[in-house]
Symmetry: C2
Amino acid sequence: MDVVEFVECSIGRWRSQRSGHNLAFSHFEEVRSTIDIVSLPKTAPEVIELCKSSEVDIAQAVSPFQMSWQGESDWDNDEVIEGSCVLVPIPDLDNLKKGKLLRSQGYAETIAAVGEYQITEDGTFVLHTEYDRAAAEEKIWFGTPNLRFRVSLIKTSDGNGVLTASFSSEIRSLSMEEKS
Amino acid sequence: MDVVEFVECSIGRWRSQRSGHNLAFSHFEEVRSTIDIVSLPKTAPEVIELCKSSEVDIAQAVSPFQMSWQGESDWDNDEVIEGSCVLVPIPDLDNLKKGKLLRSQGYAETIAAVGEYQITEDGTFVLHTEYDRAAAEEKIWFGTPNLRFRVSLIKTSDGNGVLTASFSSEIRSLSMEEKS
């Protein structure tokens, strides 16, 4: 599987169950959310803008997409967690399975970020992103075409300590009702 | 990483946080447990017995170990979840990264099982086990030498449907107090 196929398989509406583990305090967090992943054309203004601000030639971009989410955590039932961001894969010249992933400023994040992705032999999308004071590692893979899993780790910026780990089960919403 | 190194890195006492996702009903389960993994000699009676009952030559076995666990679920605080089983890797003749994993009848399981394991290029131990009416897929990997992650899927026996998914964060217990 390469990044074009991976994005294609990810397009749609997903119902997500996410468990967060705070490793120092052994706390659990439970989040239920709806995630929408939609394909964007390379001519979309937000894609052009993100490439420009990242100093990347738009010709290198493949399969841009937008991800938005809306959910509720058991830590704070009154607060709705929501956000949206634009993602643009920039594969290496000779290899669609490896490259950079540009990510726009989301509602929840304060800065745009550039991650490094790699798709392993068993079809797992592995993404490393470094921020100023932390680093993130995500693994995303498909259990079936309609079931996606995601493990996200937030690490200290030196990459040695893991602060939180979370696991999401994402089921494709197939009913018309849920798509409305 | 091959299976000998993987077992070596796993030996010890681990404090585990596990989240279970029931995918049909979007239910969460939270389990806290302590897991002990100890190395066994190839001369241990339970290792010899497991190889014999599985009709495997003990000479093919590498790094046998015992895993035992004790924990509590938020689904039933009064019940202590505990069990123990013996595991014996039987690598392919030319490849320590691939082979079978024999597993004794545990306290919780009703039958012994033989799984197929493979260690991927990024050091993830992937195990497939088929039972009479279900199949299990586990991925286990190290975030750091003292932090192990495990994703377990319970599938329908045809391997197409996923019934439950769970995620464990396992932190090595280093203090003497916790080892007592």
